[in-house]
Symmetry: C2
Subunit: 368 residues, 2 copies
Amino acid sequence: MKFFCDPKTLMHSISIVQKAVSSKSTLPILKGIYLEAFDKNLRLVGTDMEIGIDHIMGANIIEEGSIVVDARLFSEIIRRLPDSEVEVSLQNNNQLLIKCASTEFNILSYNSSEFPELPEIEEEQTHEISQELFKSMIRQTVFATAQDEARPILTGVLMEIEDDTLNMVALDGYRVALRKGKIEAHLNNKVVIPGKTLNEVNRIIGGEEDEKVQISLTNNHALFTVGNTKLISRLLEGEFINYKQILPKEFKSRIKVNAKHLLDSIERASLLGKEGRNNLVKFIITDENMIINSNSELGNVHEEIKIELEGEDLQIAFNSKYFIDALKVIDDETVYLEFTTNLSPGIIKPITNDNTIYLVLPVRLASY
Amino acid sequence: MKFFCDPKTLMHSISIVQKAVSSKSTLPILKGIYLEAFDKNLRLVGTDMEIGIDHIMGANIIEEGSIVVDARLFSEIIRRLPDSEVEVSLQNNNQLLIKCASTEFNILSYNSSEFPELPEIEEEQTHEISQELFKSMIRQTVFATAQDEARPILTGVLMEIEDDTLNMVALDGYRVALRKGKIEAHLNNKVVIPGKTLNEVNRIIGGEEDEKVQISLTNNHALFTVGNTKLISRLLEGEFINYKQILPKEFKSRIKVNAKHLLDSIERASLLGKEGRNNLVKFIITDENMIINSNSELGNVHEEIKIELEGEDLQIAFNSKYFIDALKVIDDETVYLEFTTNLSPGIIKPITNDNTIYLVLPVRLASY
């Protein structure tokens, strides 16, 4: 194997696949990046056996071939090379020679035959979605996945394809995030993608409005294709919770409020609720006015926000974190908060559409 | 106590004094910021009993007085206030009321009489030095202080005032950093300032070329005055090593080399020397050419740099970290490296002056 390329381009490619490389694996080869020189291309692959990333870049190939090289060392070397064409070639003794200007590295390489192959995914039946839309759908749901592994299925995001609509849903037992978006679908389908996978997909997507992400699904795997990069992930097994049953159909109080003002107020109120007691903040909702209270042994805080109330007055308390997380990812200026009683879930959603819905369970207070 | 002020200005002042506040103290009052409203000013003081920072800002004082408030909570509150004038006032129940737009905080405060007083320093006999110069002198020496407390005196920087020259010296047993600069001195003096103190002084100094830092020294303390901010620190006790004896008076080989190229090459070479063996890099110096080698079980690296050699060829090895640290803070484009034998210290210095000198001890190699 021997090729020439620009070190900056190579570094960019390494940084794409490196995120899938396991730094903690006990198998040295899994700490490596697979390099394959073929035609006029260099393929780079990294995998931790859960996620695999495959990226192709242009290179001046002198001799085809493939090897595996330690990801961390390779990336540190390439990052620090002078700004001049780099030559990478496999030597007789299985060492990889990296030559650039008057710098020469010889580093250990592994035989590529020991590198695990990524699963083959049929790419004929793919769904297509705008990069920009998919990026925002990930951002607006993945934060609500469960962080602990007690119920593994909840660490993932449900992707439910119904005709030309993609529903993405995450929930952790205390809240639900639902985001609907338009997809060019091939077949209806329903899979649960690990949250970690979607974070990596999000990182790879440039976010161009006109560019597409191709999504191919099998029984066990999902393949996301973004330009020259393919990300393959296993799916989470098990039945996802029937989220549609959880979403309330009606409300007794509906508030219209500026999302940024509400976020700022809850963030300030949460400063005093931090130490234990579930980051508790209390909403006292009356006509045209919402008071947000929080108190702890450190002191108390009182916030007032202008609102438009439709329906009944209400006092209700929440874990501030769940409201903050949702308000941070809502792009709309104004939102509705919908409540039924102070013991039933609250809803946060944009006033302009039903594409985004956040549900948060309240905290029962000793006295109101 | 009661005052009005701009929350952004207050936040800036808090961030200045907060660095001296001990976050780990078992005494709650030392986790606090002392606030004193007087005349048209608000004074803020933070101290961990080693360093004290005293800062004065303008404020609209309604009622004079002083209290102490938890630094972390106070700064988090002020940082998140709306962009509107804030009112701060002490209530009857010893609670501090913070009011801004429709936000109201009531937080616990401490009696200011329990707050430790900073030592009084006579400010009549002060030295003056340019902010810009002092900032660069700190940056170019403090990194070479010892990081472990085995010999506490080496965790500080010697400040030696000799007529109109300030010599700043740091050493840790493996290297020396010496920087000379012009000072308007009052009296010759010699003190050792904790490295941590100088890092804080560096942070406070804006670096304006025309502005000065005032330095007042007593037997036990140093006072640095930068505009409205005073930083008081204890001095380190003990005798500093006689660094003048350590600096070699002559050399057998002198190399002229581009500092950036040398730094880049040593940084690349150090990638392979990292795992154990003291980050060893080897210099092979011959006429017009210097080869930098490093190797480990991961592989080897070979770098070549153009140099101008005056004197004898030499092979010598160093801990790359010490060379990298020094080359990173040298502002000059070209440096001299001076060597005598491969067992005696190497010198790094700018070619234009003797104001900056770095000494590094070599590592003895088994074979050359």
